[in-house]
């Protein structure tokens, strides 16, 4: 490796000034591009947060008028907003719990067992991921209409579990494939039955993947609009509320809620990144 670096250094010094300049530009073009791309990705988020502090004149919150903290202080001042946020949180929590349980069991069956219909099961799990959301929503509404089921909280819950399950299966499956089964065999050799082995060995080792899947499911559920819009009936989740508001005028309080969700999610993600890099650092020290 060090020999290669030395060779490159020799070659570089032999290159002409023009070639070196070209190299410099090329290396830094990519970095400049990356910086611009990050601005592009983060600018709309900055706009959302900025406009949560706007003091709009009239009904429209599109043009910057002046700074105020009132929207954050009186986030609850908009009729129906608190109920919508509460409904979103309730549905995300409930559907994540149910979908995580169903998905983990399915992943265990698919990875651990060879049985008839395994291929078909894999396809059935994959299909909802490959179907456009609008078709999922439309087909569910079609079923509910035909079966004369009243749409509302219950139908949103059912729909969310349906499309989160596949994400959970995929996440947990990835972890199970690299799972060291000797640990379970050791537990059985030491006299643990299957249930105890599952509870004391398998589940703790799987818990990071299950947690990751659950967080993903929660995030997808709380953000979902298209499917929810079809099966919501009179119930309003936060995205459905925003959609309704967007037809008239979006109050700055909506930006307050969106900014809060963003900040909470980023905090969780940053803590996660820090913990994982600390852990990686410790492993390197140990080695």
């Amino acid at each position: 490796m060090s020999a290669t670096t030395a060779d490159t250094a020799v070659v570089t010094s032999r290159l002409g000034v023009g070639a070196r300049a070209w190299r410099f530009v090329k290396r830094h073009t990519l970095t400049v591009y990356a910086a611009l791309a990050f601005i592009y990705l983060l600018l709309p988020i900055a706009v959302v947060i900025l406009f949560s502090f706007n003091d709009p004149v009239g009904r429209f919150n599109y043009v910057w008028q002046g700074f105020t903290l009132d929207n954050w202080r009186e986030w609850d001042a908009v009729l129906g907003l608190r109920e919508a946020v509460t409904t979103s949180l309730q549905i995300a929590t409930l559907s994540t719990i149910v979908a995580t349980a169903l998905g983990t069991l399915m992943a265990m069956a698919i990875v651990r067992h060879h049985f008839r219909g395994r291929g078909t099961t894999n396809i059935l799990v994959f299909l909802p991921l490959a179907t456009p959301e609008i078709v999922l929503g439309a087909s569910l509404l079609s079923l509910f209409i035909t079966a004369q089921v009243a749409t509302g909280f219950g139908t949103i819950f059912v729909a969310h579990v349906m499309f989160i399950v596949s994400f959970i299966v995929v996440t947990v499956k990835a972890r199970l494939v690299g799972f060291d089964r000797h640990l379970e065999e050791a537990a059985m050799d030491l006299g643990a039955n299957e249930w105890t082995t599952f509870r004391k060995v398998t589940l703790p080792l799987l818990s990071p993947a299950i947690l990751a899947g659950a967080l993903l499911g929660f995030a997808i559920s709380i953000d979902d609009f298209i499917i929810t819009y079809f099966v919501a009936g009179p119930t309003q989740t936060f995205p459905v509320f925003v959609w309704g508001a967007a037809r008239v005028a979006v109050p700055p309080q909506v930006n307050v809620i969106a900014s809060s969700i963003f900040l909470i999610a980023v905090t969780i993600a940053v803590v996660n990144v820090i913990i994982s890099s600390l852990r990686a650092g410790r492993q390197q020290q140990g080695a």
Partner: protein, 285 residues
Amino acid sequence: MGSFFHRHRGLTPYLLLAPGLAWLTLFFLLPLAFLGYQSLQSGSFPNYTFTWEFSNYAKAFTDFRPQLMRSITYAGMATVLALLLAYPLVYWIAFRAGRWKNLFLLFIVAPFFVTYLIRTLAWLNILADEGPVVGVLRDVGVLADDGRLLATPVAVVAGITYNFFALMALPIYVSLEQIDHRLLEAAKDLYASPAQAFLRVTLPLSAPGIVAGTLLTFIPAAGDFINAQLLGTPQQYMLGNVIQSRFLELIDYPTAAALSFVLMATILTALLLYARIVGSEKLTG
């Protein structure tokens, strides 16, 4: 409980699968079947009857051809744009970002932490007629003095590209990250120029990521109606807008159902064509 599993070992996978499979059958397969049933109904609300009305499909193709074409072209353009924008960026993260990789990846996922509708509404602020982007473009002369970005295909495609960017970027990043750096050194030792090394080593090895990213971006993009509705006008409406309004506003279930299947068939056709081009073994991994 343990002894029960021991006596019926063959049964275990089915017991584990039963609840999840039941849920997917009841709330995914069965609804699709009902949608198919509805797509062949005729009559008017609320008295639709099943009559094998295949003309609904013919009607869907002829009456809504512009929206169908827009779904394909807008989604296709957004997918290509996302690929071109994302590739250099994740290349930079994978090869140049050093130990800050995870932080920069977080930047790519960050838009997903802002509710979908709200990040689209933010583009409404950015691209607004009185906004800075339009102002600069008018000054430079790219846009006429009364030219606008909102209510044009540009705004809709830009919105779709932005909204599904991470779905393109992350799979490419994963495939770039897995590349064995010794292969690149070997290419260099064999006198490959950086461009050659990229074209002959890096690009082919990242192909699975490109394929996965393309699929993950194109499918939701083709079914989207939010960008067209918020950033466009009826002149930019896509198939999703028609399905949405037929189902929820006009209560024309048979047409909406037929259109849903047309959308799925379109996506499937596009994917099969794509598979022909890139090779089917890459699609199935």
